[in-house]
Amino acid sequence: MIRRIFPHPYLSALLVLIWMLLVNRFAWGSLVFAIILSIAIPALTEPYWPDRARLRNPGRILSYIGLVIWDIIMANIQVAMIVLFKPNRKLQPAWITIPLDLRSPEAITVLASTITLTPGTVSADLSQDGHALLVHCLHAPDPESVIEEIKSRYEARLTEIFE
């Protein structure tokens, strides 16, 4: 019964939170409307997303977000330094392949987005059966260490959260 009303409990919770933030001021009326939306939207979109995302360890999400925000700040400073002070001829851009241990589509999406937001890397493509990510690095004299860092810093934590 609960499962039928809330096919995606995390999505419903997020919708309530986002609606309340959009309203910007607490009122019971908007909370009721937020709950109506949080039931209606997952029910309407369920045919497109039949599987429930499984989270093994939702508590770790906050610490992951904190880590990513910190890395984004550091990435910004690094990229700004490269843009301002490194001449183009000294730049060593590289394509790298990151073999994936993650299997759930949600986890791979989060990993790909994280890679795009953090130090000098943009994720460009996924391999045909989802076993590897194609990543472009702005400046990578040592591609192996980039792969190692992404795997240990982000993928290991995502594995703890999702699988």
Binding site: I18, L84, I115, G120, V122, A124, D125, S127, H131, H136
Partner: protein, 138 residues
């Protein structure tokens, strides 16, 4: 008290502005399409982030009530920036890179956008349609 708040808000605005400027400069300065993609996907996030934080701080100190819309702007920005980056990267790969020039994709045969899975599924559908047509004719 209010002088510190003013300093905080202005510092955040200046930091945000600097990163936005550096991101735009990177767009002009970097040598090719793929490296140019790095400047706006990152420098711009902190540029906009700094200005949003300044807005939160201003409403917190001087506004009539605190404002939370900035959190949502940041959330949507962080969700959509990687997707824009991915789309630009893929479009560029198809315009100027052949599949052989890209690194090996490991155990799978191909990268998804170069692979035959998209064509295969279209072909499957095509044969199915023909099949049903033939069935109808018979």
């Amino acid at each position: 008290m209010s002088i510190f708040a003013e300093i905080l808000v202005s510092a955040l605005l200046v930091i945000g502005g600097i990163f936005g400027l550096v991101g735009s400069y990177g767009l002009v300065k970097l040598p090719d399409q793929m490296t140019r993609l790095h400047a706006p996907t990152k420098a711009a996030t902190l540029g906009v982030g700094g200005i949003l934080l300044a807005s939160v701080a201003w409403f917190g100190f001087f506004g009539e009530h605190s404002s939370w819309h900035e959190l949502l702007i940041a959330l949507f920005l962080f969700m959509t920036a990687p997707i824009t980056g991915l789309m630009i990267a893929k479009a560029h790969m198809h315009l100027s890179w052949r599949a052989e020039e890209l690194p090996d994709s490991g155990e799978d045969r191909n990268w998804a956008t170069y692979g035959d899975s998209a064509e295969r599924s279209l072909l499957d559908k095509g044969t199915d349609d023909e099949g049903t047509e033939r069935d109808l004719r018979e």
